[in-house]
């Protein structure tokens, strides 16, 4: 399968600290790839590098066949990469509907003059945006909450709303940063089904950071393991879980385990 995202020798240093050290991997088109590793392994930093929040110290990131290194975050979003955040970042004081409607903006191109003079182009496109937002909320089962202020939404649904907001941008690559954080096993189970459904229905690729191993093992076709900024293993769930280096990174060496 052709890779939609290609990362080669990606390195990010913060002063003397190397947060990401010469990491290379790819995300195949239509694939669900898991990015795992202990806290501080550099997972979120990689997300920040892909989405343009940080600039890499060296290395390349190619999306499709274009390099996206050095582009501003909004341009990268425009090209079709979007993400959710580890600590939820919704437009808290806006309604659920307005959160999604705002993110739908790339589907319209009416100008300031169209908006201020309320020209036909504004009316037609605005109607389209509303319909799209409503449709997305319907598909994702949030329509019943559409008038609720996002901040008042139960936690699990806030995470789901963040995913809906990301989908409003018509992404081809969706980055999920610990989508199951703080969820109970039941909610995690639902989320797993949701991720697979999104991939199939919206025809996109997913890169997911997660600590819930059931989720990673359950939905990811390919897993990349990081430790201290370096890639230590990569492969299917089975391969990765049997890799001695991975076991060591997560559980410590047998010597440490005996001391504990």
């Amino acid at each position: 399968m052709a890779a939609i995202l290609h990362i080669r020798d990606l390195t990010k240093q913060f002063g003397g600290l190397t947060a990401v050290d010469a990491v290379s991997f790819g995300v195949p088109e239509g694939g669900i790839v898991g990015l795992i590793g202990p806290n501080g392994a550099g997972k979120t930093t990689i997300f920040n590098l892909i989405t343009g929040v940080y600039r890499p110290t060296s290395g390349s990131i190619e999306f499709g066949d274009r390099s996206i290194v050095g582009l501003e975050p909004f341009r990268i979003a425009d090209m079709g990469i979007t993400r959710t955040f580890q600590n939820i970042r919704l437009f808290k004081n806006l309604s659920v509907f307005d959160n999604v409607l705002t993110a739908c903006h790339l589907n319209a191109n009416y100008s300031f003059a169209d908006a201020i003079l309320r020209l036909p182009r504004f009316r037609a496109q605005e109607k389209g945006l509303m319909a799209k937002a409503e449709n997305l909320l319907g598909i994702m089962g949030l329509l019943g909450y559409k008038d609720l202020i996002a901040n008042n939404l139960p936690y699990g649904l806030q995470r789901r709303l963040e995913i809906v907001r990301a989908l409003a941008l018509n992404p081809t690559l969706l980055l999920l940063d610990e989508p199951a954080a703080g969820m109970n096993p039941d909610e995690t189970e639902q989320l797993m089904r949701l991720i697979v459904r999104i991939r199939d229905d919206f025809k996109l690729s997913v890169l997911v950071i997660e600590h819930h191993m059931d989720l990673i093992m359950g939905v990811c076709e390919h897993i990349i393991v990081l430790n201290f900024g370096e890639k230590i293993a990569e492969g299917s769930a089975d391969e990765v879980s049997k890799n001695p280096q991975v076991i060591e990174a997560y559980l410590g060496t047998s010597g440490e385990a005996a001391n504990a």
Partner: protein
């Protein structure tokens, strides 16, 4: 109280309202605080005065029609704001605020020292052109422009910047561009307000555009409620009229003014309107939000063990 007196207060409130509406877009909808908008008012006032004052007066003007003064004053303030924005909009939150404060004071000091425009003694020859009708029309245009802007994708993008800048970036919003547009529009509003102010007072002086004036504008926006156009309109009317109503207290007037503002902010921390709009659709929206909250709470209670199952 005769009509001329009331009309005078209303005109002053209407002039303030123009500046406040612009600042409302910047502060209330885009989330950027400014303590320098009196500077943009000053630019509008001086450029406007220069365009419309008679060539025979001292300082000499161009003697052109009032409408050109409005356009010129607004455009000059907008142009200056573009350069200010280029250098300061990359600064984070509070630092931008400090930069605007410095800008406002710098503008005042520049006019204080430029003798061509009358220096600290001021400019006495500004024609009296700000009529009640002209101010009313300007206010209506200002409100409609802003309301239509805010309820469009462009306005929503600005609100997204206010709510969560990083998420706005990731949602494909060019944060810098929208901050810049918001700043320019707010500066044009302040500039136009300055033109009307100059042609209402018929005399302008740099000290009219001090930090106190900038603060007054920001207080009105917060008092009216961030993110509410109706709040800014009400705020401008109430807070411009209040010092006049309090004239009976003579030297204690400003103490009562301060106390009144504090009292209202304590009882309504989100300002008079607090994000609500006094329009049919605005009221419907708030009603829908309250209903949704009630329903969500009921649903949550029904789902918790021990509650009634659904």
């Amino acid at each position: 109280m005769d009509w001329t007196y009331i009309q005078g207060i209303l005109m002053l409130a209407g002039i303030n309202m123009i500046a406040v509406l612009g600042l409302s877009l910047l502060t209330g909808f885009t989330g950027l605080f400014s303590f320098g908008h009196a500077g943009f008012m000053a630019i509008g006032a001086y450029v406007g005065a220069w365009i419309s004052a008679s060539p025979a007066s001292t300082p000499a003007g161009l003697g052109l029609p009032f409408i050109l003064a409005i356009v010129g004053g607004g455009a000059a303030a907008g142009a200056v704001s573009y350069f200010i924005g280029r250098i300061s909009l990359n600064l984070k939150g509070d630092y931008f605020c400090i930069a605007t404060l410095g800008f406002g004071e710098a503008i005042r000091l520049i006019f204080n020292n430029v003798n061509r425009f009358g220096g600290a003694r001021g400019w006495p020859g500004v024609p009296s052109k700000s009529t009640f009708l002209a101010i009313l029309i300007a206010d209506i245009v200002a409100v409609l422009f802003l309301a239509n802007l805010v309820k469009s994708r462009h306005g929503r993008n600005m609100i997204a910047v206010r709510e969560e800048e990083l998420a706005a970036q990731i949602a494909g919003i060019n944060v810098f561009k929208y901050k810049m547009i918001s700043l320019i529009i707010s500066a044009v509003y302040a500039g136009v307000a300055g033109v009307f102010f100059a042609h209402y007072m018929t005399f302008i002086q740099p000290k009219m555009f001090s930090l106190t004036k900038s603060t007054e504008l920001t207080i009105i926006v917060i008092f009216g409620g961030l993110g509410s156009i109706s709040g800014s309109v009400l705020g401008a009317l109430v807070l411009t009229a209040l010092p006049e109503v309090l004239r009976a207290f003579e030297i204690w007037r400003l103490v009562f003014y301060g106390a009144a503002v504090i009292l209202i902010m304590v009882s309504r921390p989100k300002g008079l309107m607090g994000g609500m709009e006094l329009t049919p659709s605005g009221i419907r929206k708030v009603a829908a939000e309250r209903k949704a909250l009630r329903e969500a709470k009921a649903k949550l209670l029904a789902e918790t063990p021990g509650g009634e199952g659904d």
